[in-house]
Point group: C2
Chain length 131, copies 2
Amino acid sequence: MSSVESAIGKMRGRGYKATPQRLAVLEALASEQHQSLEEIKGRCPEVGLVTVYRTLDLLGELGLVRRLDLGDGPRYELAENHHHHLICESCGDISEFEECPLNTDRLAPSGSGFVARSHSIEVYGYCAGCR
Amino acid sequence: MSSVESAIGKMRGRGYKATPQRLAVLEALASEQHQSLEEIKGRCPEVGLVTVYRTLDLLGELGLVRRLDLGDGPRYELAENHHHHLICESCGDISEFEECPLNTDRLAPSGSGFVARSHSIEVYGYCAGCR
DNA sequence: AACCTAAATGAAAAATATTTTCGATTAGTG
DNA sequence: CACTAATCGAAAATATTTTTCATTTAGGTT
């Protein structure tokens, strides 16, 4: 099942309607990591701006989308795309990597009472070009 | 040397002036993790809003401050305060932890050409209260 | 210790970004 | 296929961030 389909399912399950606009925003999100609002809008120009905002809010509440900020403004990404970020402190370039050094289950400090479901890592440094 | 002092040193070294306003913003940042702009402003009310923005930008360029977004709007923190975040997906509460499961040096994927200097981890899940 | 000068500040204005409002439309149910 | 609560979109209202520009100041130089 694609992450878009499972997101739709989750929305329906909670009583939200699966409108074409929400579909379009989800597909825009699925097509690339950590996009800005501009980029998302560009990928679903038929959806009104307000609806894009509202959909991102809704998806955020459902835990399906995360908003992050890696130095330039706000960006959004599907929470289930497990990947991490390399951020160049010199040129600001952002890239991703998949190979994950962590086990989510062991992440939260013991005794904190926190139950970890997922995680995200940002590595700051210098990219090959700027090094 | 406190992180404020070392930040001042770094600014001077790069030819930026150590003004009382910049000092005040740095001290505001040092007094608490991941603060919103409102909180920072509240901690240095004598500094003009524009200057707060400009100082945060400058500190960001120098790599001393990071902007992040953990679900609610933008927040700022001193980059050298090594700590990580626990974010509750239910109530939105954010807490920190120090004990770090990672070695920065081994973080960037081999072959990426990326040189890691520091990192930050966000753990998403449910806090003790919401669990 | 009183210049000098480039850098920095603050207030107001401008530009952007985000949220609210509210009448019109529609997904999903019966 | 009708119904209705949920959703949408356009405009207006707010909030946030950046720009402008006249004034002030940090830090170096006499």
